[in-house]
């Protein structure tokens, strides 16, 4: 498995970046969804404001999933740092799971759109793109790049 070590710097950077972004997005979303649920900061309307757009606040579980994905990347980072090449597995799984959830949210978005199309006709007033565009979707671009770059290498792990 020596061939990986030369490229592990790249992966460490990737793991750090992805881990950081997911953890950040996840924890912000978590705090805001919790406070919205408990009605802590009623002055700021998260549903409509800037934060509402980026961190659709009513999604508590979604925020936990972001935190989970972030933790997988960070876990992989720590293993890579101590020289354990198995850390790559964490990055691989992290990429896999983040892409899975990006797909889940895209499909949910598609479902909501179709449903409101059926009920309200082409104007689709009931549907709000910004509400459905969850962080898991746009953050997913990063792991997607990672997947495309290392695709061959991951497949080669079989051999």
């Amino acid at each position: 498995m020596e061939q990986y070590s030369s490229r592990s710097k790249e992966k460490m950077f990737f793991a750090f970046l992805a881990g950081f972004l997911y953890l950040l997005a996840g924890s912000i979303q978590f705090v805001f969804s919790l406070s919205t649920m408990l009605g802590l900061f009623p002055v700021i309307s998260f549903e409509n404001g800037l934060i509402g757009i980026f961190f659709a606040p009513s999604d508590l579980i979604g925020s936990l999933i972001l935190v989970l994905i972030g933790s997988i990347f960070i876990y992989g980072l720590t293993e890579l740092r101590t020289g354990l090449n198995e850390g790559i597995a964490y990055i691989y799984v992290g990429i896999l799971i983040s892409l899975l959830f990006a797909t889940v949210y895209v499909l949910v978005m598609a479902g909501n759109w179709m449903d409101s199309f059926l009920l309200n006709g082409p104007e689709t007033n009931g549907w709000d793109l910004l509400y459905d565009l969850r962080p898991a979707i746009y953050l997913g671009i990063l792991p997607l790049c990672g997947y495309l770059i290392w695709r061959k290498e991951f497949r080669a792990m079989n051999k």
């Binding site: 498995m1 691989y92 889940v104 059926l118």
Partner: protein
């Protein structure tokens, strides 16, 4: 002609592809899954090939001929007692060394044997170099390469079966156990040979080896014979445990001598599978990952299916309107509109959800992930006192509880098995999903997916807690340690997932067209009779029944309509939704059932939650009661299971409803 008939038994370790092979040969559709212990019963099928009538028998997987659990006994007894013409051992080409243990035992039986080296694709992909001809020579039996999942090598296998059947003389390789054991074998053999009947049924050397191996089942088989006493006295003079260990050692020794000649580069190494497992079964991340994936599945089941549901609902509403306008007389219009379209239609509209959920579960199962889930949960379960193996039947229970309860046959320990049978009904099956989707969708809109996920989770928790309770009270005992061989990760195939989805989904449709249709008509009749009452009013039969049982369920927040629907839900859980559809008269006022429910002043989110909890936990359906009776063989346990489910359901729904009322 007797000569044209060939009986072929498929045997092998668990999860090597026996059922997949069986399905491609016979064109059947037995359940295939990426974990050990899927098949628990023998299944036979027929194949006409080149003028031969080949009867193929699929057997449960087994690691050795020393049978421990019920399913292993099935596999062993078939090969030993029924003497198929040819035994085909399916060997996982990526795991030959481990599979050879069974081979060494089968060889001793002396029947005609063929090895199907299955999953050849995976071995090649890994870069293993397998020497098939060498293997044939060493084992003295034909070896055929197959890829069952891609229908490769099947005709070669069948040709070999026919050739083997026609072979006159047949020579099987024997395993030498070393002088000391060999002399014992001869001694026992001599005694055995006095019983002519026994000698004609079994190879004596094999019997002797099994007896010295401490095989209790064989001891039982010869118990009726006149020489049983003599055998027992020989055995009791020996330290059988030492012999058992020595013989196993010898087999392993032989295998490790043979194996390197058959395969180069087949050493064990860290594979992708192992690497992924480090993450998936990580002490801290394992359970969160499991929960996250399940949540994703339910979120999709709900949200993505929504538009399809809307379409089906629209069609049925339109049909109901048509019925109301065009059908005369009025009572017939009501039967068709409210009874049939209302009842069956409300169940039909959940078909997209059912299909999507089963598609996703099948992907998770096929990828090998669900078996990991069992492993992760096992760590928790073991502390709780239930064997992790119990989790596999529970996973099957998400589809339907009936096969899940049958799957408990793979659990060796009787106490474990009983406890598992008792708790499987708490696992939410597909038939309960419509109830959650209806009520969660109506009262929790955006959060419906999460609510449904929580209900499923509650089912697992109640199951696990009940198991703990049972294992510390009536079904005391230590759980047997659990060794689950983790299947490798595989990219799930679309074909398999779609087939799985179709099998489960079509069952649901078939039920909708039969039991649910019948149930809807019965409920309509009860709602329309006695003649002349207002439809579905309190003076109709159904109103009378509803009011009679409503006091029991009132504390849970249920009115008479819901109470009576739950009562009929005993037949099948979908009927709860169907009868609500009938009673809320979907066809009549052109409203979807969801609108009627929202309009009902007695229904609000707490009631909906309480109803979902109750539906989750009370007795699933008559079919499950039947299978519990059959598998436990006891009316007492069956009655206990029903009563226990009702009590738990009532208590938890009570807590949810009363607690919720206090909070709001």
């Amino acid at each position: 002609m007797a000569d044209n008939r060939i009986r072929v038994a498929l045997t092998g370790n668990p999860n090597v592809g026996k059922t997949t092979l069986f399905n491609v040969i016979t064109g059947s559709r037995q359940h295939v899954g990426n974990w050990p212990g899927v098949t628990v019963e023998k299944k036979s099928g027929l194949k006409i090939y080149k003028g031969y009538e080949i009867e193929v028998i699929d057997l449960p997987g087994t690691y050795s001929l020393t049978a421990y659990s019920l399913d292993e006994v099935v596999a062993r007894d078939f090969i030993v007692d029924e003497k198929p013409d040819v035994v085909v051992q399916i060997v996982d080409a990526t795991n030959i060394e481990r599979n050879l243990y069974l081979t060494t035992q089968l060889m001793e039986l002396g029947s005609k044997m063929i090895i199907a080296l299955n999953m050849y694709d995976l071995a090649e992909e890994r870069g293993d170099k397998l020497h098939v001809e060498k293997m044939e020579k060493i084992l003295a039996m034909p070896v055929v390469r197959t890829i069952a999942s891609d229908n490769v090598g099947i005709s070669e296998l069948l040709d070999t079966v026919i050739a083997e059947k026609q072979k006159e003389n047949h020579h099987a390789r024997e395993i030498g156990y070393g002088d000391e054991i060999e002399s014992r074998i001869i001694e026992v053999e001599k005694v055995l040979s006095q019983d002519k009947e026994l000698a004609s049924r079994y190879p004596l050397r094999w019997l002797a080896v099994r007896l010295l191996d401490g095989d209790e089942n064989i001891l039982r088989k010869i118990a009726g014979s006149g020489i049983a006493q003599e055998i027992k006295s020989i055995l009791s003079s020996l330290d059988i445990e030492v012999y058992e260990a020595l013989m196993a050692d010898k087999r392993y020794e032989i295998i490790s001598a043979m194996f390197p000649q058959m395969c180069e580069r087949c050493m064990t190494r860290m594979t992708t599978s192992d690497m992924i497992d480090r993450v998936m079964t990580n002490k801290y991340l394992g359970i969160p990952i499991f929960l996250a994936l399940m949540w994703g599945a339910f979120e999709l089941t709900f949200s993505f299916a929504n538009p399809f549901m809307t379409i089906i609902e629209m069609i049925f509403i339109w049909l109901g309107e048509m019925a109301a306008v065009h059908i005369h007389p009025d009572w017939l219009a009501s039967l068709v509109g409210e009874g049939i379209i209302g009842g069956v239609g409300s169940v039909f509209s959940f078909i997209p959800n059912i299909f999507i959920l089963f598609f996703l579960l099948s992907m998770l199962e096929d990828s090998g992930y669900l078996a990991r889930a069992a492993f992760i949960v096992d760590r928790v379960m073991y502390k709780i006192g239930l064997q992790g193996k119990s989790f596999i039947p529970m996973l099957l229970g998400f589809g339907c509880n009936v096969p899940a309860i049958m799957a408990t046959r793979s659990i060796e320990d009787r106490m474990d098995r009983m406890a598992t049978i008792m708790v499987v009904p708490f696992i939410s099956c597909g038939a309960r999903l419509p109830i959650y989707i209806l009520f969660a969708g109506t009262f929790f809109s955006k959060n419906a997916g999460t609510v449904i996920f929580c209900i499923y989770l509650l089912g697992i928790l109640v199951a696990v807690a009940s198991a703990k309770l049972l294992r510390t009270t009536t079904l005391k005992g230590h759980p047997a340690p659990f060794i689950l061989e983790l299947p490798p990760y595989r990219v799930p195939t679309l074909k398999n997932s779609i087939r799985h989805m179709w099998d489960n989904g079509s069952m649901y449709i078939r039920k909708a067209g039969t039991i649910i249709l019948g149930g809807s008509v019965v409920i309509w009749l009860l709602a329309a009779l006695p003649w002349g009452v207002e439809y579905g009013s309190e003076v109709s039969f159904i109103g009378i029944i509803g009011h009679a049982i409503q006091p029991l369920l009132g504390p849970l927040g249920f009115d008479w309509k819901i109470s009576v629907s739950l009562l009929f839900g005993f037949v099948a859980k979908e009927i709860v939704v169907a009868s609500l559809g009938v009673l809320y008269g979907v066809g009549d006022d052109h409203f979807a059932l969801t609108d009627s429910l929202l309009a009902d002043p007695n229904m609000y989110s707490i009631t909906a939650l309480s109803l979902m909890v109750f539906s989750l936990l009370y007795m699933p359906c008559v079919a499950v009661v039947g299978i519990i009776k059959k598998e436990t063989g006891s009316w007492k346990w069956t009655a206990f299971s029903v009563a226990y489910g009702l009590v738990v359901a009532w208590l938890l729904a009570f807590v949810v409803f009363q607690g919720g009322k206090l909070l709001y």
